[in-house]
């Protein structure tokens, strides 16, 4: 089930510095998240150290949005990849072209976007991220669609 993003898991933050993929059987609680243009509801996320959370994410906006649990550095790296997705027509403002996503890049990787710490959704779609917050580090939930993170579509994760 784990994804193989175009830069591998290290870049996308599939697991590592930001925690690890959570198991369905170990979910402590569920948080419902709405994605709007360009912000999350709720805007703040408070997590207990070590908790496994099931995020049920609904895109209520008019644009494609991402829900991504990562460190700031991981977000920065991912933003470059997302920019490439836009430039190659994989990502349109309100559409994800899944066929183009599977095309091989010059570096031999695809732009497939299915890492366990994130979900990328078209308007009206719902997805899920199960994440274990096993590392008490500075984490942000952010949208790396070009411009959205900088516009303020990013929320700090605070540990209780």
């Amino acid at each position: 089930m784990q994804g193989h993003g175009m830069q591998g898991q290290r870049m996308h933050g599939g697991s590592g510095a930001n925690g690890e993929p959570g198991k369905k059987s170990q979910v402590n609680r569920t948080i419902k998240v709405e994605m709007h243009d360009n912000f999350y509801k709720p805007e703040k996320f408070s997590i207990k150290d070590g908790e496994t959370i099931r995020f049920v994410v609904a895109n209520k906006g008019r644009l494609v949005h991402e829900f991504n649990v990562a460190t700031r550095k991981q977000h920065m790296g991912h933003q470059k990849e997302m920019m490439m997705m836009v430039e190659h027509g994989v990502l349109e403002p309100d559409k994800i072209n899944h066929d183009k996503m599977m095309m091989k890049m010059p570096n031999g990787e695809t732009m497939e976007h299915n890492d366990p710490n994130s979900v990328l959704l078209e308007p009206g779609k719902t997805g899920e991220v199960i994440w274990k917050f096993s590392k008490k580090v500075d984490l942000e939930i952010g949208c790396n669609v070009p411009g959205h993170y900088d516009a303020g579509m990013v929320s700090k994760v605070t540990f209780k």
Binding site: D37, R62, L63, G89, P93, G147, D150, A151, G152
Partner: protein, 565 residues
């Protein structure tokens, strides 16, 4: 009838509803403005001018989307005046253009504007009478959205630019009519001539000079009005307008170019700018290092200073003859280094329209084509192709993107730090105002002029001699601008939105000014949803006055949307 109703935009419906609901409107504000003679101090010189409520720029008007505004404008001048609410969608009688919307406001009289606010964003207001706007009669408008903005910010500033000239507007026009290069200080010199001879040889140099002479233009004709002091919010570079911030804050800067004639390239060394709004409408956020603002455009950017230091807002005129400068700082009195102006760009043969595809060269009046044969056409072609390939790399699987500069143009901007320079092609509506549909027809508008006589025109005909453009309510018109001059023209249609074709279909940005570079063809589409009559013109004050201006008449439409005459 049914199709007409279907074609009505939601904004039109809102407008009609808002007017019907006036007696019940909860939100209403009254504003009083006086039009006054003022003295403008640029730090370089002082001059008499015109302002509002005793100052130029006038007060920032802050409205709320959904508000019904009443604005009393009292004329304290000894000549007639007017106020046009630039970019606002309103009944045509409230649009403030003398002879088109109303009779103007006579000396001593008060005119009451009353209209519903059905939009949000950054706009401005200015006189539409004579040369009062270049003389200082302008101010900013902020309209707060009823919905949450798609971006966050902690504080905001208006950054309103102008090109204040020591001469009055009327005197500038007289001088330009006498000699079109009266204010062109960066003319090519004898020194340039000898430098070119040593580089190109005598024959080519003479032939090059001949080509430009036949065009009645010079490669330095980027700004036909030079010798001004650019101001930010009324302050010259020495007076240093300053906006305060706390480190880490997001600051929304609302840039408005209220210049008579000058485009600016804007950067804030040390900071990226997130462009979130263009001409009042939100755009999908795009991060840039620098952007160009045409006359009468607005751009909102968000910056986030992460250091406890001063930053310079640097706005270099497109022809690099002058700059505006302001400061963002944590404390008053701080300043940062002021960059040096880079070399003035030069127009190229591409800006003459030589690289222009589909252009009717036969219609270019005043041009001697036999003289142009001397030009190295093969070189031009080579240039085109390499440029095109360089530009096309990202669009191999997308429809052809419109070009907003002629390939090889001397005006193509580059970010000083080598980073990203905003292009029209980057703009995408955050929330399209209209359903995308096929235009019902196309109207070609050739932007034309005779530089020698300082006549500017549309389709070769100046305003005084032209028939109005007639549009039908409910249609979607595609305007095709073909710039046959060597100057850049910011075209402004009143009363209705200009949907700029950047090749993004329903995401095309919705603007009120569309800048058309020399040697290019640019398309915009307009949903004709505002009955009445409107102005449509180049927003360079002296080009508009010289004839690059049209009256637009919208025929038909619901009576409900019109105010009683």
């Amino acid at each position: 009838m049914i199709s007409t109703i279907k074609a009505m935009s939601w904004r039109m419906v809102v407008a009609a509803a808002a007017i019907l609901m006036v007696p019940f409107a909860a939100l209403a504000g009254t504003y009083n403005i006086t039009v006054d003679p003022v003295v403008i101090d640029t730090g370089d010189f002082k001059k008499d001018g015109i302002g509002y409520n005793g100052a130029s720029p006038g007060p920032v008007l802050r409205f709320k989307e959904g508000e019904e505004v009443t604005i009393n404008v009292k004329n304290n001048l000894d000549v007639s005046t007017s106020i046009h609410w630039h970019g606002l969608i309103l009944p045509f009688q409230m649009d403030g253009v003398p002879t088109i919307s109303f009779d103007g406001i006579k000396p001593g009289e008060t005119f009451t504007y009353k209209f519903p606010i059905i939009q949000s964003g950054t706009y401005w207001y200015h006189s539409h009478s004579g040369f009062q706007e270049p003389d200082g009669a302008f101010g900013a408008i902020i309209i707060d959205s009823k919905d949450r903005e798609p971006f966050r910010y902690d504080r905001e500033y208006v950054v309103q630019l102008t090109d204040k000239h020591p001469h009055s507007g009327a005197r500038i026009m007289r001088n330009l009519k006498m000699s079109a290069d009266y204010y062109n200080r960066v003319q090519r010199t004898a020194k340039d001539f000898f430098a070119d001879v040593s580089k190109m040889g005598l024959g080519d140099t003479l032939s090059d000079r001949g080509d430009w002479g036949q065009m009645r233009m010079m490669p330095t004709d980027i700004e036909d009005l030079q010798g001004f002091t650019p101001l930010i919010n009324g302050k010259g570079p020495k007076q240093n307008w300053t906006g305060l911030f706390k480190k880490g804050e997001r600051i929304r800067l609302r840039f408005i170019n209220s210049s008579a004639m000058t485009y600016f390239d804007i950067r804030i060394p040390g900071m990226k700018m997130l462009v979130v709004n263009a001409d009042g409408n939100n755009v999908q956020p795009v991060k840039v290092d620098e952007f160009r603002i045409a006359v009468a455009e607005t751009y909102d950017v968000i910056v986030r200073p992460d250091e406890d230091k001063a930053y310079t807002i640097f706005a270099a005129s497109m022809g690099r003859t002058a700059y505006a400068r302001g400061t963002l700082a944590p404390r008053i009195g701080m300043s940062a280094a002021i960059p040096k102006l880079t070399k003035s760009p030069r127009l190229t043969m591409a800006d003459m329209g030589m690289a222009h595809e589909g252009m009717d060269h036969g219609s270019m009046a005043g041009m001697d084509h036999s003289k142009m044969k001397g030009m190295d056409q093969s070189k031009m072609k080579g240039m085109d192709q390499s440029k095109m390939k360089g530009m096309d790399h990202s669009g191999h699987n997308m429809p052809k993107k419109p070009a907003f500069y002629a390939p090889g143009s001397g005006l193509i901007p580059k970010a000083k730090n080598g980073g990203k320079f905003l292009s029209y092609g980057d703009l995408r509506a955050q929330r399209p105002l209209y359903k995308h549909r096929k235009p019902t027809r196309e109207i070609e508008l050739r932007l034309t002029g005779n530089m020698e006589r300082y006549i500017w025109s549309v389709n070769g005909i100046k305003y005084g001699d032209a028939e109005p453009i007639r549009l039908k309510y409910g249609e979607r018109v595609r305007f095709k601008f073909v710039n046959e001059t060597m100057m850049t023209h910011p075209m402004h249609l009143h009363g209705m939105w200009s949907i700029l074709d950047v090749g993004a279909k329903k995401w095309n940005p919705v603007k009120h000014v569309v800048s058309v570079s020399p040697g290019t063809t640019v398309h915009m589409e307009t949903e004709v949803d505002a009955p009445g009559q409107w102005a449509f013109h180049c927003h360079l004050s002296f080009h508009a006055a010289a004839g690059m201006f049209r009256k637009v008449i919208v025929e038909g439409g619901p009576k409900a949307a019109m105010l009683a005459r």
